[in-house]
Each structure stands twice: as structure tokens, then as C-alpha cells.
Symmetry: C2
Subunit: 117 residues, 2 copies
DNA sequence: TTCTAATACAACCATTTGTTTGTACGATAT
DNA sequence: ATATCGTACAAACAAATGGTTGTATTAGAA
């Protein structure tokens, strides 16, 4: 498993890219099969350029890659990046468990109600 | 396990809320222990009102809840919502698997290269 | 009661996003 | 060679976001 460190900025871009229904749909479609930008554009009620920009946002977040094929650009979903996002969320779960652990310890020690200073 | 359906708009708000380092830090801290808004505000190099707005974004996404305690508002991270986000990402993984399955089937059937019409 | 701490909320401003239209350019087909 | 298809990219613009300051309200302290 590759545990490369993601900067705050990277994480920002990943989650921001996922915060749009059209972009999530593009990721879904390009995970299932390679699709050209024009094929994607034909699917949504917006201009070609708008779809192009959504793809660019996803590419910037590395959630998809683009590969030239003839005069088309085939878009391919990048599952590794999705998994990295999942690992980020896993970390939240770990923190939450640490809270439970700490509570358990406090209770076991007789809850001395420490003053905050 | 509660599998309540999330609207596109709900999902947008969840991911958008997570697309900011300060907000992710607030979620982390409030998953580990309850923290008041003023305690949070003291931690960041921005105004109280700015932190208040970040908390409001998280609350709107239901990633945290606020509970009055005396004159303070204690902020508490909502792990369930994090888990819902994870389930959304799980779904992408399933789609990707379906692609592999379909490729396997095509290869097994001799790849007839169907026309798109 | 009076003062203060914690919060809520509105108004405002700069920057970013999401979208459009228009122009340009490389690859393919005629 | 010319036309056309798929794409890239810039300019423009409305709307949303992230931040500020200022004012009001409420709960606890003196």
C-alpha cells in the first residue's frame, strides 16, 4: 500500500472536486469505462467548455487522468485517489476511537474531574 | 446500519465542508472531545466570526452538532456523517469492480467490439 | 444591577467557482 | 487542400465562499 503524504492543498482539491454532482458523475462513468471529453459533454445540460472545466478540476485533483487517443482525449477515473480520500476519512474514525479510549481510561481511574487551568 | 438516502445537495455540502483545512481540523478536534466555539476560535489565526462561519458550514453539512451548555455552545463531531461519506466512496470502488467484471466478460466472449448506436 | 464573556447575525469586500461565448489549433476525413 | 471534429484556452460575468468589522443578545460573575 502506498502511503504518500497528501498536503492540505491536495486534500482540499480532492474534496472540492467531489463536491459537485456533475463531477461525481464523471468520476463514476470514467471508472466504469474510458470516455472522451466530447462523449461526456453530450451527457450534460451544459456547454462543452463547462464540462471541459469540470474534467480539468478532476484532473487537477488527480481523480481522473486524460490520455490522448487520436484527436480525442480519453478520460479515465483514478481509483487510487478515491482510496486515498477513504484513508483520510478512516483517520477521522481513528480519532473518534481515541476519544472513547480516553473516556474509558478516565472512568477507570475514578474520574478526578481535573480543573482546566 | 442506517442507509438513509443522501441527496446530491447533501453530498455536495458534505464534501465541500471537508474541502477546507480549518474545517477538517475542527472536525478532528470535536471528534476527540467536545469543544466550545470560543475555544476553537482561540486556536486559529482568524476572527471569532470566521471560525463561527466554519462551524456553521460543518453544522449545515451535519458533520458537527452544537449543544448549548451554559453560555457556551459545545461543538461535537458527528462520526455517522463521516461514515456516510465513506460509504459514498465505497460506491465508486464497486463501480470500478464492475468495470473489471465487464472486461472479463468481454474477453471471455471474444470481444465483439459493439458499435455505439 | 452592572459588567463581561460567549455567541449570533448583518453588512461588506476580495477572491474563487461555475458558466457562457468566442477564437485557435491539431487530427482526421473528403 | 479543405472542411470538420475534438479539444484548448481566454475573456467575461453572476453567484458563492472566506474573510473582516460592527452591533445585538444572552448567561454568568462581581
Amino acid at each position: 500500500m502506498v502511503v504518500l503524504e497528501l498536503s492540505d492543498h491536495d486534500v482540499n482539491r480532492i474534496f472540492r472536486a467531489l463536491a459537485d454532482a456533475t463531477r461525481r458523475d464523471i468520476v463514476r462513468r470514467t471508472l466504469v469505462a474510458d470516455v472522451s471529453v466530447s462523449q461526456l459533454a453530450a451527457s450534460y445540460e451544459m456547454s462543452f467548455a463547462a464540462v471541459q472545466k469540470h474534467v480539468a478540476v478532476l484532473e487537477d485533483a488527480r481523480l481522473v487522468t486524460k490520455e490522448p487517443r487520436g484527436r480525442e482525449r480519453m478520460v479515465r477515473g483514478n481509483l487510487d485517489r478515491i482510496r486515498q480520500a477513504q484513508h483520510l476519512l478512516d483517520h477521522f474514525e481513528e480519532l473518534w476511537r481515541s476519544r472513547i479510549d480516553r473516556l474509558d481510561i478516565l472512568l477507570a481511574e475514578g474520574d478526578p474531574a481535573p480543573s482546566d487551568t
